[in-house]
Amino acid sequence: MAKYTKGFSIGQSILISTFLIVITSLLVVTIGGFLNFNSTTSGIVESTSKEINKQIILNYENYIDSVINTANYIQRKTVEYGIEDRNDELKDIYIQAADLQQDIVSIVLVDIAGNEVINSSSKNLTDEDITQKRWYYDAISNAAIFHFSSPHTQDIYEDSIEEVITITKLIDFYALGIKHSGVLVIDLNTYNLVKLANTTNLGDQGHIIILNDDNSLIYASNSSCTNNNCESAIIAQDIIIGGQNVTINDLSMYANVNTLKNTRWRIATFINIELVENTRTSNIVFSGTIFVITLSITILVSTIISKRISSPVNKLKDHMQEIQKGNFYNKIALEGQKEIVVLASSFNSMIEEIRELMDTILVEQKEKRKTEFIALQTQINPHFLYNTLDSIVYLSENHMNEEVVEMVVALSKFFRISISRGKNIILLSEELEHARNYLLIQQIRYNKKFTFDFNIDENVKSCKVVKLILQPIIENAIYHGINTEYNEGSIQIRAYEKNKKLYLEVEDDGYGITPEKIQELKAGFKDQSKAKSVGVRNVYQRLQLYYGAESDFIIESELDVKTIIRLIIPIEKEV
């Protein structure tokens, strides 16, 4: 399962798997139940319908049997009495037989030419040619069987209006000891046919139809079926024999067609199974409703559960992302499952730990930077001091007392500012003073081979700056920017405010620096092994350490014209 949930959230996984499990089991149960119910009811409907159909057929069979028994009896007596030459008594047998059975209208024996031999009734036979009658033709066409006609108006007598079914059979009879063939004609009324159809309950609109072998309608118990083109008759013709579910007049029926023994008739029963169908439909609706309700509940519950589980986890996740961004100061407060709460509190204490660790590291880092900073600051002084002291010695030997005094005063001021009671940050005015003292010392040392000029905006003098940032730049300008052999150099120092930043510029008019050289210089700022100028690199590093990205160090140069080194730092004024 896990394989397929890759890429899903916990909530989705829970939702999907619950959903799948529930929908599968629901489907299996509902469909299985429905199919089971369906096949059971279908089986019951089929077997019940078939039983009812059988019962009906048996009733009709018994009826037909009784008619055939009568016919057999007549046939036997006809031969028996004929042989014994008692034909005059035969008429009584015919009359009795006709009277005995309520539905026998008449029993007549005609000879092969269609003339009356024996007649159970007092009515006269029709004048029409009996040999032209369908039932007569049927009888002589096949001697072995009884022939059952379709219902018709009785046509063996004059003026009869009775609706009858004619049963005929070719039999032997004796006249004066000679054997003849004759046709036994028994007319039945439809009384029993109708009675039998009505004795069985086939449900609302359930009905029976009887078809002859040519598919003509012999009888239909429902009044709507008057000929063999009615719906039921067509269905019965189509089925031929057997049973199936059909729909008649929008009612579900089970149609069953069976043969009727000793006749060529087929009886079709149509049994109303609407009730079963309705039950089936309501079963579908019921199952469907249960299905939908259960599914909805499942979705609801699993959504809630998955939310309950996933939302604290999600909070935790968001919180972690927050921490990834560096925010260590929010505590997470979670409610929900035990595990999650424990997880959250462990997480909190872990974050606490990390934060403390980070704070410690931060403090240590600061300390380290401070130490580094001081170390850098202290790097500046020694050789300048040696050089200056050498100059003083030189000046004294040449008895240049005035210059000695000037230099010693400047040096004293220089160191006072340098030390500035251990402060790292001093006023720009002090820094400028420091630069001036330095320039004064150097001017004497270099025998006034250069001039210098300060151009300072009044409003920036009270700005605070990291100390000793101008002196190394100026030192660089003196050493590399002034051609001491030929002409006097000039050094311009400027300080001004621009774009809310403090700009400090040192400009000389020396040889200038080639762009390649500038690149090398800048590389040297970052990598000590490539460093050319210790002092300038020192300034750059201190600016970076103290001001970070807010400071900038720009070198501009035009060869043989001028070089400007520009320091840009944030304005920090004394409050």
Binding site: I241, G242, K261, N262, T263
Partner: protein, 338 residues
């Protein structure tokens, strides 16, 4: 997951996948209580080749039950259905249905109407010509009674007229009608004078024949010279009744009715079932006409096999008349006098 699917597939396979069985050909018998038909069915089942199995169904003499069997057989799309109809008129509907389902059917023992059989190209009938059995039956009787108008001692009252009872099969069964008519006709045509004491319909059944004979014997005991039965089963019933009324007496008690010395009445049957053959051997039943059910069974199986395999049905070992009929002749069966 894969394993689960595998298990499911296996389960479905096991549940649904029974081993492939040989095709089943239904043989729907009108009534297995009829010993002749029971024997006949066994011949057919035994002769079926290994490529298919014949399974018999007992319609219990009910066309309704038979209709259900037939409906089932058609629903299962059997390649051919062998039917011994309960009601020969019902065959019409069965043929119509078989035609609509395009299933070949072979009828046996009870011949459907020719017009019905002609409705469906693949409807066949295997049987014996009913008339022929009656001709043979009449020959047995003629041999037994001697020359007409000069009958031998079996004409007990010496009136040169044979006083007889006819036991008829089921009403409406064409064999019953034909056998009865033809045997009388043949005897009369050959100049024998007959006095039919009674024609009784006993529905092919031993028990019914026994009951009816029990009623008739008191009336006709002294007159009766011959019993003609449409089949052996009824003949056996008649003999049982006559033994009770001492019309058969084994005087020397040797378990054999000697036609010279013991008391007996000639009874002639048709079919040649095993019980009848036994009774002939013990002298009770005079003779029968062997309905060669074994050969018929063979013909049915050959025809069915040809149909199933789609072979030309005219290549089988039996001649097919009118593309419909296979006729297997009857044989006389009497005890050879030593």
């Amino acid at each position: 997951m894969k394993k689960m699917i595998f298990v499911l597939v296996m389960m479905v396979t096991i549940l649904s996948g029974c081993t492939k069985q040989t095709p089943v050909i239904p043989l729907i018998i009108y009534n297995e209580a009829d010993p002749y038909m029971y024997e006949f069915a066994q011949y057919i089942i035994d002769k079926a080749p290994s490529e298919y199995t014949v399974v018999s169904y007992d319609s219990q003499n009910s066309q309704l039950i038979q209709n259900e069997f037939i409906e089932d057989a058609f629903k299962k799309n059997s390649k051919v259905v062998i039917i011994n109809p309960v009601d020969r008129l019902g065959a019409y509907t069965i043929i119509e249905k078989a035609k609509s389902e395009n299933i070949p059917i072979i009828f046996m023992n009870r011949e459907p109407l020719k017009e019905d059989l002609n409705l469906w190209e693949h409807a066949y009938y295997v049987g014996a010509p009913a008339a022929h059995s009656a001709v043979l039956q009449s020959e047995i009787i003629m041999d037994l009674f001697g020359i007409p108008l000069n009958l031998n001692e079996l004409d007990r009252n010496n009136d040169n007229i044979i006083q007889l009872i006819i036991l008829k099969g089921e009403q409406g069964h064409q064999d019953a009608e034909t056998r009865t008519d033809v045997v009388i006709e043949e005897l009369e045509n050959h100049g024998y004078a007959l006095e039919i004491l009674s024609i009784e319909i006993c529905d092919w059944k031993t028990s019914l024949a026994y009951d009816i004979m029990n009623e008739l014997i008191p009336r006709y005991q002294d007159q009766l010279e011959l019993v003609i039965s449409n089949n052996d089963a009824m003949a056996i019933g008649a003999i049982e009744a006559m033994v009770e009324h001492e019309m058969f007496v084994d005087i020397d008690e040797n378990g054999f009715i000697d036609h010279e010395t013991d008391t007996w009445i000639p009874v002639v049957g048709i079919d040649g079932i095993a019980d009848a053959v036994d009774l002939i051997k013990s002298g009770y039943l005079f003779g029968t006409v062997l309905n060669d059910s074994e050969s018929m069974a063979e013909a049915i199986i050959e025809l069915a096999t040809a149909i199933i395999n789609g072979e030309d049905i005219h290549n089988i070992g039996y001649e097919i008349i009118d593309n419909k009929y296979i006729w297997v002749d009857y044989q006389k069966y009497i005890l050879e006098e030593e």
